[in-house]
């Protein structure tokens, strides 16, 4: 297990820009404070960089509880208000099984099996293309 214990309450998760998409890779065990900070950082970067998509890679995340689940849903909701679409990529099978039993179905959250598929999904639904409204 490689948990990053150096993360402090207000640590920033690196947000990478790939063309008009922001790519965020979550790793290990996230502090509540770090997750909330991420929500703010993503919203600011969407506006600053005028991106139209956000990909959050959670393949390195071992658990998603209702707190992190809510943060992911809120990131997707605030991104949508800023005209960007969010795709959560790479959820581990054990996490998916657990989320269903927890009762968190995360409606409105788009998912893809990995980052590549997430980028394809965003490319398919760019404005002007065959865009599908979530929900």
């Amino acid at each position: 297990m490689n948990h990053d214990l150096s993360l402090s309450g207000t640590a920033h998760v690196p947000v990478l820009r790939l063309g008009d998409v922001l790519l965020i890779t979550l790793q290990g065990d996230l502090h509540d404070g770090t997750a909330e900070q991420l929500q703010q950082d993503i919203a600011e970067q969407i506006v600053r960089n005028r991106v139209t998509g956000v990909v959050i890679d959670i393949s390195g995340v071992e658990i998603v509880d209702s707190f992190l689940g809510r943060v992911l849903a809120e990131i997707a909701a605030s991104s949508r208000l800023l005209a960007a679409r969010t795709v959560v990529a790479g959820m581990r099978p054990a996490v998916a099984i657990t989320l269903v039993e927890l009762g968190l179905s995360l409606p409105g959250l788009r998912t893809a099996l990995n980052t590549e598929a997430a980028l394809e999904l965003l490319a398919m639904t760019t404005p002007g293309g065959p865009r599908r409204e979530p929900r």
Partner: protein, 148 residues
């Protein structure tokens, strides 16, 4: 009956969101040491994360005790979350999905109960709250208890 697998028994304080990280890591390691499979580890860690956050947010802080329990050949992990907070006046309502007195999703208590084999909630208003959960590696030793 208590067992003796190294790295399982512990009492951890729950006073900050950094403590939630330690709780999750301890439960993950203890469950792995007791032979829990990956999905069962993930379920128990997720339940522990929900209960520890409740201890912190609603209970005003407290602690988690982890114990190794055995029943015949079955290896189990019991986690007890205790606080001396305001308590829960209506446990039935608190356990129902979607009920929150804070800004949560209201899935922590009900979800945690679904994610473990045994669940008990003991709360006295003005005195505090104790939630104890047990899960077993592989298979529960007896018939799975019906949730209250």
């Amino acid at each position: 009956m208590s067992g003796t697998v190294a790295g399982v028994e512990a009492r951890l304080p729950i006073r900050s969101d950094l403590d939630l990280v330690w709780v999750r890591q301890h439960v993950r390691q203890a469950a792995a040491a007791l032979g829990f499979g990956l999905v069962d580890q993930t379920k128990l860690v997720t339940a522990a994360s929900e209960l520890a956050r409740n201890t912190l947010v609603y209970g005003g802080g407290g602690e988690m005790a982890a114990e190794h329990v055995c029943d015949g050949r079955a290896q189990g992990l019991r986690l007890t979350f205790r606080d001396q907070g305001p308590g829960i006046a209506d446990p039935e309502r608190a356990l129902s999905d979607g009920y929150t007195s804070g800004g949560g999703l209201g899935l922590g208590l009900g979800g945690a109960r679904r994610l473990v084999h045994e669940f008990s909630l003991d709360s006295t208003p003005g005195v505090g709250t104790t939630v104890a959960v047990t899960s077993w590696a592989a298979r529960p030793p007896r018939q799975r208890e019906e949730p209250r």
